[in-house]
């Protein structure tokens, strides 16, 4: 467990970029982990689902993505976790242009991104343990090294006793927790979550958010798509990206800081 985490903690998206002094360039590169410039996304020949998106995400930032249904939140997340390429514009991830990147290089980038899908997308014939272990196995972690962290993660999301259960026998909330455990087990550089607390009770939502917060504290950039205003207000240092009809409502970023709960 420790060895694996140490390996990943030493993998921030720090890359020297030309321009400015070396120290400035390193600092800038370390801060900006995602860069969107005039990004548009169109499915087939239909209208653009996302238009003219330009924003950047800092390394170690905590972002909430909000907007009404159909605003394009899931599409934006798909671009972030490399399930789609944009129709136009530029996306830089970890300092590299991923729009023109050859697909053979994408797996290396995807391993640095944890995803909680809205529909969980658990592998139905695998147990909760095997589902959570999936990213580690894909990354090449030996069996003897993954048992302890997977068990620990399952215990953390309150499913230590359901390790052998198949997804079909788990409740919606339990499936969501397995999906979250799977997304964070490899300690990704970016965690992308699409409505991660939609099916869990408030207490579990709090616990999961605490998990995200802890990861964020370790340097993971967290992007959470949600409608839950309580969730948004509970992370003090979070920023907010608001989407409507495929466009960012606050392109300058001036309104990114959401209102805070005063009773918290």
């Amino acid at each position: 467990m420790r060895t694996f985490w140490v390996v990943y903690v030493t993998l921030p998206g720090m890359r020297w970029e030309p321009g400015g002094t070396g120290a400035e360039a390193v600092l800038r590169a370390a801060e900006t982990i995602v860069q969107f410039d005039n990004v548009g996304l169109r499915y087939g020949t239909g209208a653009e689902t996302l238009s003219d998106l330009s924003f950047s995400l800092r390394q170690g930032g905590f972002y909430f993505l909000t907007g009404p249904s159909g605003a394009g939140k899931t599409s934006l997340l798909k671009l972030l976790y490399l399930a789609q390429r944009p129709s136009r514009g530029l996306i830089r991830l970890f300092g590299e242009d991923i729009v023109t990147m050859p697909r053979r290089r994408l797996p290396g980038f995807r391993r640095r991104i944890g995803v909680v899908f809205q529909d969980f997308r658990l592998v139905t014939h695998l147990s909760a343990f095997d589902n959570v272990a999936l990213p580690l196995r894909v990354a090449g972690v030996e069996e003897k090294d993954l048992k302890a962290p997977v068990k620990e993660m399952l215990a953390w999301v309150g499913l230590g006793h359901r390790a052998t259960a198949r997804p079909a026998t788990l409740s919606g909330g339990e499936q969501q927790r397995v999906a979250i455990a799977r997304a964070v087990i490899a300690r990704p550089d970016i965690l992308v979550a699409d409505e991660p607390t939609g099916n869990v009770d408030p207490e579990m939502a709090k616990r999961l958010l605490h998990l995200f917060d802890s990861l964020n504290g370790l340097g993971t950039t967290v992007v959470v798509a949600t409608h839950d205003l309580h969730l948004i207000s509970s992370i003090g240092r979070s920023e907010m990206l608001r989407l409507d009809r495929g466009q960012l409502l606050d392109p300058t970023g001036a309104l990114r800081n959401p209102p805070r709960r005063t009773d918290a």
Binding site: R103, P107, R111, D130, L134, G140
Partner: protein
């Protein structure tokens, strides 16, 4: 980020459900392999028969003395046999006895039909040894000078059509083997595509977690190799049983011509190697199919 192209381990093989032998593919491969082995065995057996026939009679000639006068015929036959025995390049000379000639004529004339009333030619079987075909002309010239009533027949002349028939059947067997290989490959392509469609959701999840195309393809390769191994084994066993049965029936016939189509030991090794080649081919075809399909995904 170590070992991007790492081989997935034993535990990862569970990533695809173990539905082996439930689908039709192993049985289709078993049928294909059964037919492939039989076609290959037929081709190899015919090749063996052709080689055996050529070795047995291809370098031989038959000399017939057809004078109607029995005394002249007997004298000419003795002179021809003597001449042939003393010729260079003649390995063996054997004059057929009247009993042997009667036995040869029996199917046409009946038992005892070749009596003294019929002028039956005297026959001499001549073995010219390996490469004897080239010396037939010399033998014919020498015989024509010494015994004008002698007629020389090359055994290879009547073997020619049989040889061409065997050669055609061999080509047919080879074409059948190639067609079976093509059909097996097509089956594997269809099975791989079907498996890919069935497990598309799992594959997408694996991809989004950073699995490489090669990692995913290995999962399918392994499954298809196991299916091919099962099907190949069943097909080979079935074909071997059929061949043993046919071999027993052929032996019961007692025909030298049909019996010469026996498989040499090396041919059995080749037939056993066919399922192994089938497994390798299935793996390669599956890998190629999966990698091509994955290449169209992001």
């Amino acid at each position: 980020m170590k070992a991007v192209g790492r081989k997935l381990g034993a535990a990862d093989r569970r990533l695809l459900p173990e539905g082996r032998l439930a689908g039709p593919m192993p049985w289709v491969i078993a049928i294909m392999m059964f037919l492939t082995v039989l076609a290959a065995a037929a081709g190899l057996g015919l090749g063996s028969a052709a080689a055996g026939l050529n070795a047995a009679v291809g370098d031989r000639v038959t000399v017939q003395i057809m004078d109607p006068n029995p005394d002249v015929r007997e004298a000419d036959a003795a002179r021809a046999a003597d001449l042939l025995r003393h010729m260079n390049g003649v390995r063996k000379v054997r004059r057929l006895t009247p009993a042997e000639i009667n036995r040869l004529l029996e199917p046409w004339l009946g038992a005892g039909g070749a009596g003294s009333d019929l002028p039956i030619p005297a026959m001499i079987d001549v073995d010219l040894g390996p490469g004897g075909g080239a010396r037939v002309g010399d033998v014919r010239d020498a015989l024509a000078r010494a015994v004008p009533t002698a007629r020389l027949d090359r055994n290879s002349d009547w073997l020619g059509p049989l040889g061409r028939l065997i050669s055609s059947l061999q080509w047919l067997a080879a074409a059948l083997v190639l067609m079976m290989i093509a059909a097996t490959s097509a089956t594997v392509v269809l099975a791989a595509r079907a498996a890919l469609d069935t497990h598309r959701g799992t594959i997408e999840v694996l991809h989004l977690m950073g699995a490489t195309d090669v990692q995913v393809a290995r999962l399918f390769q392994r499954r298809i190799a196991l299916d091919a191994a099962f099907g190949g084994g069943i097909g080979l066993i079935g074909a071997a049983l059929v061949m043993l049965l046919i071999g027993a029936r052929v032996a019961a016939l007692g025909s030298d011509l049909i019996g010469s189509a026996a498989l040499p030991p090396g041919a059995w090794l080749l037939l056993i190697a066919l399922p192994v080649l089938g497994i390798l081919l299935s793996m390669l075809v599956a890998r190629w199919t999966i990698l091509r399909a994955l290449g169209r995904m992001l």
